[in-house]
């Protein structure tokens, strides 16, 4: 019988979910993991078998980004589901979760279905829609969670806009608990953050830009940790950026609150100093903070307080970033630099090892968002990332698959390069020399 089979031979297999960290082969068959290890009994005569030499490279379960913005529908000039899914593949992500702040907002089952259909047509990385918490992300009325989840939504979020009403957030956590999905929380007290363009501190005072204090994030983080404790709902805190937030998450976890947290590569690597000179590619929300925050976040990744590294990939049009700092939109692209930034700032200095990196980029996202993948267990989906943790390359935004060029890493030499991205047992990205 002819089967569709892929043998990744001789790589350094890293899969925390099966406690694997050794050289071996990975055998994928008909879209599933068939076996891994050394001396696999693979039938070399199978005409459907493709073999790829992975010696010297790390082979891991496919990366999953639980936080990105693909802009479709509404801003197809900036990114589409197809370009976003191809950028994801180039970054080693076999699956991404698309935030619902599109135009129109992904707040109903039809909108969820549209994203799934566009992702199927794109035929690149998997795309899982996240539904809005409230209708139109207006923070007034709950959106139809049940129908959206039935249509394929994997989580709920009003990302970009905080749910200002504590009562509404409480209800959202309770209602989401019914369906067993996380509420992905954009933590920002809207009154404290009003009009802010960067971190509040010495740099904002110098540049004369209105600041966003750490407390804008921390006040809502603790509010929602407390609401998760009250309701038993699963709160997933998005893009944590401050030392104080780390302490609050730790407080919640020590009390067995159902709280998980993510951090972005840029908050693990850059500080508010990047804003000096009014570089709009250093403008995002939450803003870049201080070195003390970066240090605390790095340690939180190391000690497990923070579960997931997610990109918050946010493409913007060149013209929109090419303007006065206060008027420029928030966000940077991240799908194609995430691995290298994480390796350069976390693995290379010895803060975490490659195994922990795979845990944060693959296993934990799968587990927390209840997604297929994140494991080499027999029968898992055949989603795999192959990368060279030592190769260096220079970031050239013009070469991104994403339509977005808004990166603060342009021209920098980073370490860690994706070689191969496999989804459903098929190679969807292979590095060109």
């Amino acid at each position: 019988m002819t089967t569709r089979a892929l043998l990744l031979r001789g790589g350094h297999l890293v899969d925390p979910s099966t406690n694997t960290d050794a050289v071996g082969d990975l055998f994928l068959c008909d879209g599933k993991v068939e076996a891994f290890g050394s001396r696999l009994g693979v039938d070399d005569d199978n005409p459907g078998l493709e073999t790829i030499d992975c010696r010297g490279l790390v082979v891991s379960p496919g990366f999953i980004d639980v936080h990105c913005h693909l802009r479709e529908p509404g801003r197809e000039d900036v990114e589409t589901i197809a370009t976003g899914a191809r950028a994801a593949a180039a970054g080693g992500f076999t699956a991404v979760c698309a935030m619902p702040n599109t135009d129109p907002v992904t707040d109903n089952q039809a909108a969820v279905g549209f994203i799934i259909r566009q992702a199927q047509i794109a035929n690149a990385s998997r795309v899982y829609p996240i539904g809005a918490i409230t209708v139109g992300q207006k923070g007034i009325a709950l959106a139809e969670f049940g129908e959206m989840i039935a249509a394929g939504a994997v989580a709920l979020s009003d990302d970009g806009k905080p749910v200002a009403s504590a009562q509404l957030m409480r209800t959202a956590l309770e209602y989401a608990r019914t369906f067993g999905v996380p509420v992905a929380d954009h933590c920002e007290d809207p009154t404290l953050a009003l009009g802010g363009a960067m971190n509040e501190g010495a740099m904002s005072a110098k540049l004369g830009l209105r600041g966003i204090p750490s407390e804008a994030e921390e006040i809502m983080a603790i509010r929602d940790i407390l609401l998760a404790r009250r309701t038993g709902g699963h709160i997933h805190l998005c893009h944590m950026s401050t030392k104080g937030s780390v302490e609050l998450i730790r407080w919640g976890k020590e009390r067995q609150v159902n709280v998980t947290a993510e951090v972005c590569p840029h908050h693990l690597s850059l500080t508010e100093d990047c804003v000096d000179g009014y570089d709009t590619n250093a403008k995002m929300n939450p803003p870049l903070r201080t070195q003390a925050d970066v240090d605390a976040l790095q340690q939180a990744v190391r000690d497990g307080t923070i579960d997931v590294i997610a990109t918050d990939h946010a493409p913007h049009h060149y013209d929109e970033k090419e303007r006065e700092f206060a008027d420029a939109p928030n966000g940077i692209v991240g799908l194609e630099t995430a691995l290298a930034v994480n390796i350069t700032w976390l693995v290379k200095p010895g803060i975490i090892d490659v195994k922990t990196l795979v845990e944060k980029m693959s296993c934990a996202p799968a587990k927390i968002f209840h997604l297929p993948g994140g494991s080499f267990r027999k029968g898992s989906v055949a989603d795999v990332t192959v990368f060279d943790p030592k190769a260096t390359w220079t970031v050239d935004a013009k070469r991104f698959r994403s339509k977005g060029r808004n990166t603060p890493y342009g021209g920098q030499e980073l370490t860690g390069q994706v070689h191969l991205t496999v989804v459903d047992g098929r190679v969807i990205y292979r590095r060109q020399d």
């Binding site: 010495a202 004369g208 830009l209 009014y278 090419e322 303007r323 006065e324 700092f325 206060a326």
Partner: protein, 320 residues
């Protein structure tokens, strides 16, 4: 030839003490021009300057215009409200279009912090920041320094307190950097809600009481309290502001020394400053305005490549 200030004047934070001193020294020979019957020298003949004002301004715009005209530059004024900007043109497109007409300098006033630097990085012309958002207003800082130096004959060691809304003030920032680089000791006084949270990192002394600030200072630079701050909820009322932080004759009389009074204007009489203080014997508020023209002449001259030691000769149309 490398200009002694570089291509642009964006702020005092990025200048050295020597560069600031150079501007102040260069302003000295230019002061005299404005005292002549025929207030015109040929120094910048043939230079084209655009005054690009995205925010309303009388004092600064007119001061730049006089400085340009008295140096014989050809200048045009553009106010954003009746230009292509009101049709939605971006800042960078506006600038590039102006530059395509082969101009030499742009003087820009803009509501966004960083707008002057944004422009400077994108066009070849010299850019002079005439106030960008809540960031800097370097020529105001320079004219304040010149006025203080005229009075005290030095800047090193003098105590200057900046009073009022430091948080939203570009004048305050330029003053703090400029004064510190020149060796002055800087204080700030105002309600904490109008001081940056990080003020302690800026190397200044903070006074919560205006009485203590007056007791300490050789000079007060009293900032305009922008009336919209009250609507923003930063202070409860203008009346209370005057009662608690207003610089009044009575408060000045309590100290036995002379305290020099500066104000960048426009003043809210009876709010941050009382009329008898503004018009009193220690007020140098109008001297500031006079010095503003000389300082801006010096900046225009130096940015155009003029040599500081030739400023006197340049007034007669000689080599720059």
């Amino acid at each position: 030839m490398t200009a002694p200030l570089g291509k642009d004047l964006l702020g005092l934070e990025s200048l050295s003490g020597d560069q600031i001193r150079l501007i102040l020294d260069t302003a000295e020979p230019f002061k005299e021009i404005s005292e002549r019957a025929i207030k015109k020298v040929p120094t910048l003949r043939g230079a084209t300057i655009v005054n690009l004002f995205f925010e309303a301004s009388t004092r600064t715009r007119v001061s730049f215009e006089f400085a340009e005209k008295r140096l014989s530059a050809d200048s045009v004024n553009i106010a954003a409200s009746n230009s292509s900007v009101s049709k939605g043109e971006t800042l960078v497109d506006t600038a590039r279009n102006l530059e395509a007409m082969r101009i030499d300098m742009v003087v820009i006033r803009h509501g966004a912090s960083g707008a002057a630097q944004f422009l400077a990085e994108r066009i070849e012309s010299n850019v002079i920041n005439a106030g960008d958002g809540t960031h800097e207003h370097p020529t105001q800082g320079l004219l304040d320094l010149l006025t203080l130096r005229d009075h005290f004959k030095r800047l090193d060691g003098i105590k200057v307190c900046i009073c009022g809304d430091v948080l939203h003030s570009r004048v305050a920032r330029s003053n703090i950097w400029g004064l510190k680089k020149m060796g002055a000791i800087v204080g700030v006084c105002g309600p904490r809600s109008l001081l940056p949270n990080a003020i302690d990192d800026m190397g200044v002394t903070v006074f919560n009481r205006i009485e203590e600030a007056i007791e300490w200072a050789d000079a007060l630079n009293i900032l305009r309290l922008q009336l919209e701050r009250m609507q923003g909820g930063y202070i409860p009322s203008l009346r209370e502001y005057n009662r608690v932080f207003g610089v009044t004759r009575e408060r000045l009389d309590r100290v036995k020394r002379d305290v020099l009074i500066l104000h960048p204007g426009p003043m809210n009489r009876g709010v941050e400053i009382d009329s008898d203080v503004a018009d009193g014997p220690f007020s140098v508020i109008l001297d500031q305005v006079t010095n503003g023209v000389a300082v801006r002449m010096a900046v225009l001259y130096l940015l155009s490549g003029g040599k500081p030691e030739l400023a006197e000769a340049a007034k007669k149309g000689g080599e720059r």
